[in-house]
Structure formats: structure tokens, C-alpha cells
Symmetry: C2
């Protein structure tokens, strides 16, 4: 059905298999920093007009690959498509963040929540298949979803928040309602990711963008437990090929040890985490050892080329030399930013970054070419 | 000059000396959640009108002590008074955060920065003396400042920020300018805190509110090094009495081990940190052992009374039993929130919290009364 994969470095690194260079992709790599993205979005009229149109979603997903030798593509979409399909009424006002017309703030609203009919998200799965075809085997395609907790944050707050007061009030005052919502979210996310896998996604990533706002005692109960519930339901392979699962908790560095026990292949790390320590803690050995993904501060892309190269090398060196035994598994690193790329990033700086990852990571392996 | 201190639990706990209960105070305890604060602010006309008027600043600092048996008072002021005195033109628009008319964004602006004449901050020191007199020995008075890095964030951004793009662009592109600014800030903060000590502050706290946005490799260089530069210049005692120094880095939990080496008495912790782990890491033993302060999620104050009591007990239990040897030093805990109290907090819930800290912490010591 799909063309054979030509660059499997990302998938191999996910599975802790050796690669000739450290694969690199960037969160939000298809986005507003690219003038060609802005042109497509202008044609589409709105963000959701872009995300719901298969041709446009395919076009923008491939744009960064035309510019840079990235090692993976990621579906162009938004984490809030799932609550939108639950009937919350998602919109993106110009220059503002997402907003829900019907936030979930009381018992009646929580009780009414259901796993949405996946047919309402058909546009996403169609985009996945279309993108996979358009990629034609160049690099693998990553599907994604927000985590149950992160979706709950937006569903209760109705928009982004500074203090997460409304969602935390529900959490502390009515933990029963919060658990009920998170259970629905988890089952919806699992169904959503499985449908992406069936449509052609070759890896899936769970973005727990707001896990880091939780208190230490609450993270395990209200975020990690439901990420675990998603992972337990995910397909492990499709057509005989393993589908790696990536989990990224922004601000979750303190809970790395607990995340190291998750049944997934890769942990994403933000820029506050020391990669050498993370590798020693969860990336080195053991039955649950993980591949690590991250973690350059996106603001480094505003510096000059030689500074970007130096900071890129520093991140690669901090992880250290990945294992190089082609017959065994061992520590691997997938290069990424610690968070989404800024819309203000000069596109030519991304070229410097991607080249620096490939060049320096080959040097690190003693394989200068 | 000042009345003798009646409740020394906070100061004793800072110095890792035993106390009959765990002392408690709350960041932003004098603030908008109190109707009497709003009334005073209305009289003052503006935030800076309030902060610069000795009588008003004294009045609002004491307001929470009239309601609750808190174990410390903290100067009512703002962390941005220092850059304001540098000539950056601080203002607070109604319903918005602080803003500087003249942000520091280029080499000329950095080069022009100087440690301000402390006479321009006389209103702060006058407030300290006035509050200390008004306290009349009830509880100790804490003075404070922003950290050099946190001040730099506001000085470059000109206001709060989501992504710290401008200040990080300067950091990565022109580290020389950033170091020059941080050096001036550190010397200004040290002079500012020393003047507060001379005016009557019995402890001083450095708020590194934005330390947690730095990348792992940058935190040590651009935040911690300059906090250290402040600490090295601070007076250790006044009139023969030790002045404890508290350092709080919001989002700094990952760097606790490095902060454990600071030459200060207390480390503040936000709610993402596990107190038991923090105690084991930096609070238990050794030449540099610290008292620990924190770390309830302020949003817990939106739950019901029995839930607030349970979560308060959980935080106290997480730290565990403080040492009880009146002849030696050992692990101590100062109860606080993990961040400033929300303006939406019901005032009666704060009474529940303070009572729960005192009651449960006595139980924890086996001294039910």
C-alpha cells in the first residue's frame, strides 16, 4: 500500500537500534516560521480550514522536508481535535490561542462526555494516509495526540491559562469528576491514535504539554496514570512493523524515573533536563530503558550560526555517544527541540541546526564522512 | 530600637533549629484576595502609590496577620523596584502585569546600566522600618528582592513573557551583554537587601521566579552564579543577630543539588518538588544542609476545608518529622505555598490552612495540645 521506507534512522533510534547519525525532527516543524506555510494557511482561510483539508494538511506537512533533510515528518494537526469531536466547539481566533465554546465545568458536562465517533475525525486519518503517500517512503510519519490530562486542561479552562485555576479547582474539589473526564479522554486518545496507526502513522507521540503544572503528588494520579491507560490500549504493530510510542511531558523532568517505567519506547525531554543524567536514569539499561528525544532550547535558533552549531554540539555531547552495535539495542538519542519551534525563527537557522546535528553526531560516532 | 521578638519559630526554622510547630507564611499573603487590601489599594490609587507610601505599605503588610496566626510577615513591595530605580520606568496598568517604559535591549542600554543610588529606594527601607515597628515583635519581618536573572527577564522583555524570546536571544547571541547586565543586577540586589537588613528586615529572600525557564546548561551560568554573587555580598548579621537568607527558584527542582551548595540558609520549593526527596538531597545533613520552605499548590485553596486539611497534612508528612533536639541543628521545614497565593482565594480558606499547619505539625512532633 505504501512505498518502502528509505530513511529509517528515526524508527531505528526509537527502538534503541544503532544509526549512522542522530536523527532529527522538530516539534511544530510545519508552521508559521515558514513563509510557504503562511501562504497555504492564507489560502485555507483559517487554522481549522487548514487542518481539516487533506490537501492542505499534506502540503504543509511536507514543506519543511523540502527545505531541510529532516529524519521524520509529523502530521499537521492540533491536539484539540479530539475534544472538538466531543462537541466542545473549537475555534482559533486570529492571533490568539485555541478556544472552546462549551468548556466542561460541572458535573452535567462531565457526565455528558463520551468517546467521540472516530468518523468525526475522519479528516485527520485521511490526512495521515495522504501524507504517508506523499512522503513516498522518504522518512517515517509520526501521528500524535494530546495526553488525557493536557486535553482536560483545555476542556475545563476553555483556552490556555496562566494558573490552571479552573481545572485544578475541579481536580482538588471534585477528583471524582476529574477521574471520569480523564478516563473518557484516555479511551478517546487511544482510539484516535490507533486509527492514525491504521491510516498510516509509523510512530505515535503523546504530548503531555501541561503535565508539568501538576503538583508532585498529583502528577502520578492525574496525568501519568491516564497516559498509561492510553499506552495499554495502543496497537503495538501494523502490518508486522512495530509502531514506536513517544511520550513527552513538558516540565516533567522531576518525574523522569516514574516515566521511565512507562510501557513506551521514547521519552521526550524539555531543555531543563540534563541529557547525561536522563540517560543514566532511564536511557542506559534495563527492561524499561527508553530512547531519549530532545532537548535544545528553541530560543537558541535566534543566535548566530556558529552559536547554534556550538549549542547543538553541546546537546549531542551531553547525551554522549549512542551505542553502535548493529546487532543489539542500547542507548539512542533523537534530536529535537525542547518545545515547539517559535514562529519568529529565521528559516535559514533551521538549516544550520539540522546540518549541525547530522555532522556533529557522525563525528561523535567516529564516522566523519 | 525594635521590640523583642515574641514568635521566633520562623527564624529558628530558617537556622535549622527545633520549633514546637512548623512555622507558616504565604507568598503574597498581603494581597488582592483580601478585601481590606483592596480597600487600601483603592485609597492609594495605584500599585506603586501603595508600595511607595510608608503608611499604606505598613497597613497592608499587617493585614493578613490580623486575620491569621502567621509566623512571619513579608515586606509589601514588588521585585521590580530595583530596575525602576535604574530608570526603566515601571508602571502597572489596571488588570495587567508590570511594564517598563524603557526596556534594555541593546548594547548601549546595557552599558548605561548602573547600580542605582539606594536613596531612590528610600521608600522601601522606610517601609521596612515602619513595618518592623508596627509588628512590635509579634513575628519577624522578611525583606526580599528579585534575583539578578529574574530582573533581567523583565528588564529585557519589558513585561511578562510566554517564551522569553527577547531575553534569551540576548543570552545566546550576546552572552557578554547578559553577563554585564547580571553583574550590575547582582550588585544592585545585594546593596538593596543589605539596606533592607539595616532598616530592620530580619531575614531576606531572593525570588528567582524565572530561573526555571532556563536550559539546564544555562541555569548555572546565568542564574545561579549571580545569586551566588548576591549572597557573597550580604550581611550575615545585624546587631549581633543572624539574618537568614532564603533562595526560591520557581521551576528549579531539577537543580536542587546545585542549589544545595549555595551559601544560604533556606531553599524555597515549588509544588512540583517531592519534599521527602528534597530533604534527603539537601535538607538532612552536611555542612551545606538547608532548611526547606514550601510547597502547597495554591490552587488547593479552592477546594473544601477538609480537602485543604488533607493536602496540608500530606505536604507536612511528605517532609516528615522535623528534628526536635533543642541543643542541635537538623532538618526543618517552613510551610508555604509553592508560589504566590491567587487573588481569587477565599480568605476563610487561608484560616483553615494556617490552622491545619499548626495543628498537624504539632501532631507530627507527637505534641498534640
Amino acid at each position: 500500500m505504501f512505498a518502502p521506507l528509505q530513511n529509517d534512522t528515526f524508527l531505528r533510534a526509537c527502538l534503541r537500534q544503532s544509526t549512522p547519525h542522530t536523527p532529527v525532527w522538530l516539534m511544530r516543524q510545519a508552521g508559521r516560521y515558514l513563509p510557504e506555510y503562511k501562504a497555504t494557511r492564507a489560502k485555507a482561510g483559517s487554522f481549522m480550514g487548514l487542518a481539516t483539508n487533506t490537501d492542505y494538511a499534506t502540503e504543509v506537512t511536507l514543506q519543511p522536508l523540502e527545505r531541510y533533510p529532516l529524519d521524520a515528518a509529523i502530521l499537521f494537526s492540533d491536539i484539540l481535535t479530539v475534544p472538538d469531536a466531543m462537541g466542545l466547539g473549537l475555534s482559533f481566533a486570529l492571533g490568539e490561542g485555541p478556544r472552546f465554546a462549551h468548556p466542561v465545568r460541572d458535573e452535567a458536562a462531565v457526565t455528558a462526555l463520551r468517546v467521540p465517533d472516530m468518523n468525526q475525525l475522519r479528516y485527520v486519518f485521511d490526512a495521515v494516509t495522504s501524507i504517508r503517500r506523499a512522503l513516498n517512503g522518504r522518512v517515517p510519519l509520526i501521528g500524535f495526540s494530546g495526553s488525557p490530562w493536557t486535553l482536560a486542561c483545555y476542556m475545563v479552562e476553555g483556552a490556555g491559562s496562566d494558573d490552571y485555576r479552573l481545572v485544578k479547582t475541579m481536580l482538588y474539589q471534585r477528583p471524582d469528576l476529574m477521574h471520569a473526564m480523564l478516563a473518557v479522554n484516555a479511551d478517546a486518545v487511544a482510539a484516535y491514535l490507533n486509527a492514525q496507526i491504521e491510516a498510516g502513522a509509523q510512530a505515535v507521540m503523546i504530548f503531555d504539554s501541561w503535565g508539568g503544572v501538576l503538583a508532585d503528588a498529583a502528577f502520578e494520579t492525574f496525568s501519568l496514570a491516564y497516559t498509561r491507560r492510553v499506552l495499554a490500549q495502543l496497537k503495538r504493530s501494523e502490518d508486522g512493523v512495530i509502531i514506536p510510542r513517544l511520550v513527552f511531558t513538558k516540565g516533567g523532568g522531576l518525574w523522569l524515573e516514574a516515566m521511565g517505567q512507562l510501557d513506551c519506547e521514547v521519552l521526550g525531554l524539555d531543555w531543563t533536563v540534563n541529557l547525561a543524567k536522563a540517560r543514566a536514569l532511564v536511557g542506559e539499561n534495563g527492561a524499561h530503558a527508553k530512547a531519549l528525544q530532545g532537548n535544545l532550547d528553541p530560543n537558541i535558533l535566534f543566535a548566530q550560526a556558529h552559536q547554534i552549531e556550538a549549542e547543538t554540539a553541546r546537546v549531542l555531547d551531553s547525551f554522549g555517544r549512542p551505542h553502535q552495535d548493529s546487532t543489539a539495542s542500547g542507548p539512542t538519542h533523537i534530536f529535537n527541540l525542547g518545545h515547539g519551534i517559535s514562529q519568529h525563527t529565521p528559516p535559514e537557522h533551521v538549516a544550520v541546526l539540522v546540518n549541525a546535528v547530522h555532522t556533529h553526531s557522525r563525528k561523535l560516532r567516529g564516522q566523519v564522512n
